[in-house]
Symmetry: C2
Subunit: 783 residues, 2 copies
């Protein structure tokens, strides 16, 4: 067992014992989701608990955003994910004593998240305060194959004596939760957010329909139950506004077992009526009952087998990271698998952090993983963006711009950022979306998506950039007064990351208009418009500090005062909680990879020498107060040959949530960082790049490992790359021949594995980090 409480195992996350203090963070790590429904890993009996949470992707409440000093174009409405009707509650009475982990004694207690089964299992051997012992085993799944369905198998076994057992199975709306907000209007919006519209209960079945007050979204939750043995069972069901409850009582002999299977159906809609929504969730229940518990388990495992066959990563030599990287992939899959034209939020559906909003990191951190491992999920996430393009065009119009300006943070596509210097000004989000389209279309050849959604996204975002930038007196195309990825700088001129992703956006937009002339015609793209995009791209200003031989993150950055790292005590991190923005913005201190991220995603715009110098320069100034940094630093560290450092950053990214590096896992997992663990492996040690549509690799094995294998899918071909000391082996798993590049040399991967040597590298001395901010060295687990 590690110091962080989880047992190390290759295909599961296991927590033995019961630590009530750790409940809140483990509710996040043990969360189940299929991208449509999310359940935090709370105990079946609902209490003790950290923070209960049942989420439906896209289901939110609105509230006014307050401004002491307002401004034109400030969003007036905020959106917050809502904790919906909780159907996972199953309470147990043993004789007349409620099973509650705070009373009696948990002689055994274990929770296991199984990455191949797709289930959360909890087992306990509990002795009641009067000494009656029962064994309880619950297994929970959120179905990947039936997206509206949750199923729970709940088993109770008296150990020493015959016992009367009472099971209470609930649908509970408006669970009281403790809000962290200081804003009374937000708190009011989230205090009992659901208005009851309909309830009904009969037999083993009940349904509740609710809607939100301000956003006027409607949701329904239904439950049904099966008992292995109905004989001698006394049941009662009742429904009121916010509660439906099935109560089942049985006398169970010692060594016998009470087994109940609970099926839940969930749905929501902004449009559908109460009867329609009720019908929808009851239909889902009918499907689930027909499939049955074992059927759902089998489907779940088959779905995951397919996923792991495309996506698995094996590390030979580091068991903890082996577990962590599969944990990461499993949760990224859960966040995106069945979102189906809804957003992938920053926390997935694992907690209420960031109000349930989606950010740019979906496109630049999460979608790369899905693009190469589960491309349909990447496509669906981009279809969500496309579905919000009307709002993005309205926003551009409101801001005096053309094309589409996608929001910094949102659930429904409308901008919800109340602090524009770190929100609206971060226009790169629109180029990030265009970039994700390019990556997805290139990796899949999905011409239908391209024509129906992708090209329009690329064209409307290209339009944004020509209206946002301007040609200066020397002809250079400048983009002034915007904010790049690094949130410790804001509103600067010619942010290199922004300018380079905008440049690609402009080129790709032009290509899209030519590739899909009917789309271009529908969007009234004129030839001179496309020429203007190309001209802007060709003349894009990329500032460079000749004297220092590095790229300033934005114009003037390298002239700014250095941050006093030596005078900054460890307790003052994250800096934003202890220093004003004004001080952070004006100094050379970097929250998260910005120029370094540009070197990853636009590596084609830098020479190897520039990469090495830039990497060293920004290493000294990057504090990683964001979870969006370590993975990118891993990728670039690997590229410049600093493989040990890359490995340390890989470890930090992969363990962000398991080690609770940022001390906020209680509010949900960091999807981008989990996805970044994949990037650290595939783009870092694998050296995978897809600049300009060509898939290239530059594999190198870090010293900590004996071997590393990753799998991916490109244009329908599934293949594995195995890196061992001094060489790499490419092996096709399924599909056609594919042309790849290894350390600059092209080759065709056919039926036979291809073994290629890895050229040596001499990276020179390792760069330094700010005092106290070096990543933890991964020596303990090194093989």
């Amino acid at each position: 067992m590690t110091g962080h409480g989880y047992l190390i195992a290759p295909w599961e996350l296991r927590w033995r014992g019961l630590d009530i203090e750790a409940l809140q963070r483990t509710e996040s790590t043990f969360a189940l989701s299929n991208g449509h429904i999310g359940l935090r890993g709370t105990l079946d009996e609902a209490e003790p608990r950290g923070l209960p949470g049942t989420y439906l992707n896209g289901f939110y409440e609105e509230h006014e955003l307050p401004y002491a000093e307002g401004g034109y174009g400030y969003p007036e409405e905020g959106q917050t994910v809502v904790n919906v009707t909780d159907g996972k509650i199953i309470r147990l009475l043993v004789e007349d004593e409620p099973l509650d982990m705070r009373y009696g004694e948990a002689l055994e207690h274990e929770r296991v998240l199984d990455f191949r089964a797709g289930t959360l299992t909890r087992t306990t051997l509990w002795s009641s305060p009067t000494g009656r012992r029962v064994r309880v085993r619950s297994t929970r799944l959120v179905s990947f194959t039936q997206r509206a369905v949750v199923a729970i198998r709940y088993e109770v076994e008296p150990i020493d004596e015959d016992l009367q057992l009472v099971v209470q199975s609930d649908l509970l709306a408006n669970e009281p939760i403790e809000s962290e907000t200081k804003d009374p209007r937000v708190a009011a919006a989230l205090d009992a957010p659901l208005v009851a519209e309909f309830s009904e209960a009969q037999g083993y079945h009940a349904v509740l329909v609710h809607r939100t007050r301000a956003s006027e979204l409607r949701m329904a939750a239904a439950m049904d139950h099966q008992f292995d043995v109905d004989d001698g069972l006394r049941t009662r069901i009742a429904a009121e506004d916010d509660l439906a409850r099935l109560t089942a009582a049985a006398d169970v002999p010692a060594g016998g077992k009470l087994v109940v299977t609970k099926y839940l159906g969930y749905g929501w809609s902004a449009q559908r009526s109460i009867p329609a929504l009720r019908a929808q969730v009851e239909a889902a229940l009918a499907g689930a009952r027909k499939t049955g518990w074992q059927g759902l388990l089998d489907e779940q495992r088959a779905f995951l087998d397919e996923f792991w066959d495309t996506a698995d990563i094996t590390l030979d030599g580091d068991d903890e990271l082996q577990q962590a990287v599969r944990f990461a992939l499993f949760h990224v899959l859960q966040a995106g698998a069945r979102g189906e034209s809804r957003a992938i939020a920053g926390k997935g559906l694992t907690g209420p952090g960031y109000d349930g909003h989606a950010f740019w990191d979906t496109e630049q951190f999460v979608l790369p993983v899905l693009t190469y491992t589960m491309p349909d999920a990447a496509r669906d996430a981009l279809r969500w963006r496309h579905g919000t393009i009307g709002k993005a065009k309205d926003r551009a119009d409101q801001l005096g711009l053309r094309g589409a300006a996608f929001p910094w943070r949102s659930i429904n596509g409308a901008e919800c950022s109340a602090y524009w210097p770190a929100g609206t000004a971060a226009f790169h989000v629109s180029a990030d979306i265009a970039d994700a389209v390019t990556r997805y279309v290139n990796a899949t050849g999905d011409a239908r998506f391209d024509a129906e959604h992708g090209s329009e996204l690329q064209i409307e975002t290209a339009r944004l950039w020509v209206s946002l930038g301007h040609h200066d007196r020397r002809g250079g195309f400048r983009i002034d007064g915007v904010t790049g990825p690094d949130e410790y700088s804001a509103v600067a001129d010619n942010n290199v990351y922004t300018n380079l992703v905008a440049q690609r956006n402009l080129v790709d937009g032009a290509a899209a208009a030519e590739r899909n002339p009917e789309v271009a015609a529908r969007l009234q793209v004129r030839p001179e418009e496309v020429r203007a995009w190309r001209k802007a791209a060709e003349n894009m200003v990329v500032p460079y500090d000749e004297e220092l031989g590095v790229h300033p993150q934005s114009e003037g950055f390298t002239e700014h005062p250095d941050w006093d790292f030596a005078g900054t005590p460890a307790k003052n991190y994250p800096l934003l909680l202890n220093y004003p923005y004004f001080d952070l913005y004006r100094k050379q201190v970097v929250k998260q990879a910005d120029l370094v991220l540009a070197m990853h995603l636009r590596g084609d715009a830098f020479t190897p020498e520039q990469k090495a110098r830039n990497f060293a320069y920004y290493e000294e100034r990057t504090v990683r107060d964001s979870s969006l940094s370590a993975c990118t630093q891993a990728v670039l560290a690997a590229e410049v040959g600093q493989l040990d450092l890359a490995y340390d950053y890989f470890g930090e990214a992969a363990l962000t949530d398991l080690h609770d590096v940022h001390n906020n896992v209680r509010n949900g997992l960091h999807m981008a960082s989990l996805a970044g663990a994949w990037s650290a492996v595939v783009a870092g040690f694998g050296g995978m790049r897809d600049h300009g549509g060509v898939l290239t690799f530059a594999p190198r094995l870090p010293g900590a490992l004996r071997a590393l294998t990753f799998r991916m899918c490109f244009r329908g071909t599934r293949f594995a790359v195995r890196i061992t000391p001094g060489e790499a082996t490419y092996e096709r798993i399924a599909g056609e021949d594919v042309e790849l590049t290894h350390h600059g040399e092209r080759f065709v991967l056919g039926a036979d594995p291809v073994r290629l040597p890895v050229p040596p590298v001499d990276p020179g001395p390792p760069p330094r980090q700010p005092e106290g901010r070096a990543p933890a060295r991964r020596t303990g687990w090194t093989g």
Copy 2:
């Protein structure tokens, strides 16, 4: 009569007739104040009304500042000026009909603000709905000589028949007012803000004591009355929590007169008890009664005679501006005369605009006027700043800086700005204060103030700058990421205005430390610290665009896109209501003089050629959405010889409130713009500068005038400068010989007037302004 409703006259502001729609703005222009008490010019009978207002300088309520997304160092508490107990209400019943201008008929109605008497007089001949006619005349003054005292003479005369008259004289607390705020917490704080603590009434006298809920400030208001004839008078007095009322009834014969004099005493304290505060206002009343109505009138006139003798400006050839400039001087005097260590707010005490906060414009626009016309008032305003130095040092500490960081907006000295890019980041406010100290000490030789207050202000602000800026690799001293005066740019590097006022601050701080070694010792100033200030000043970076031959307002400014003025319809001004900050900040569009203000206040740092080029460059980009711009543009237009343009800007500045140029006079007057009218004359046409302690002039007469005379006071010598075509005459009024400079030539002004020729100037073609933003041409009133 002008189109704006006021009659033109040299020494008064007169409004004939009654325009209820115009009440709110005329309540501001007809406001009376002595810098301690402010009364808006509401009608005696309180209704109809625009916005009632009775203010005590420094008396405010606190409220939480809401942030949808908070940040470290954001101020948590806002402050808002409170409408205190209203003592100016006198209601009249004519027989049984209340005098109300909305009923019956006002056969005559006139209000006159008399700049020499210091009174607001209102006369009406009113016919009641049933045809009973009375003449009412009220005269109101806020005493300059007895700062806690207000007095009102109220006279009623039946015209046609004997009438029973009932006068009701009130003290009314918690008047309901319509708040413009959208924030429910601010509205709650200002809805009935006063908690009753004490009330008492007896004879003709009453007192009410209240305190505010959150800020816990206590205030008292007392009233007393005298009647010319007590015979046949039936009176009754009563007091409840929020109302004290004297009711007096009399039968008055036709042609007879009921005359009542009402004395009011006001006071507030954060410390004093209820009995102490009551005693204070009753003592004030006793003094007022002893002086009597005529005595107060006499004192008021004597005070103003003295002021006009030092401060008057005469324009020969423009009657409207003659009136406007005296109106301006009168209100600047009212704002500052008896503030006595309280702030001079942006609106003075004329309305609730800007929440009653004081800004940097006090030091850079208002105090120059007072420094040269009523230096004690300038001193007192700077003593207020000194009184808040503890808060400014705490704020600097919170921001990670040294020395004192004065607030962007405040009533009590604590930062209240909820939007840091245009608040806290505008650090120049601290240098503006230091500059005002230098100006005051130089103009008065007040060594005692210098030792007790001034040097400390200069030293602590010098400390701020060395902690805020840094020496770059080439040794230049940069100040990055701050906001200059122009509010359409923010958070930029090396704002020229900021760097130049900081440079002066550093030099002056060093001089202060050497001039007052005991102050330096007390503040633990080390010699190396002073050397660091001088080194920073010597190496101050002042960006210059060699290619364009102009100074960029801040680094990079001249590279930014131009604003699309041609595509901006007139209705879209002010721009900040129709365009987002992000768009304004990143483009070459200037709300208010910034680099141009630097050329005024630090004219010694620019060559004449630079001034001409810079002025033309920024004229094309300055939209004057701020009232802090026209006056400065007038000053620089005059300096570069564009005298007609200077005159137009002078007109705009002087008429800002009388013409309601910014459509917000209802919330109070623009003190800085009114003060700017003086600057346009004295610094503009008079060419007065005080760089480095030498008082210099470069007088030039604009073509619109036959002559222009202004008066001022320098080191105890009072003198006048009269400008006529081709020459200027300097004449001493009182005091010692004084050395002055006229167009570069030094001379001594003694007992005899000095006549000197004005050299000709050829300014070249006039610069252009953005489309539709040229100032109104003042041809109509040209002599």
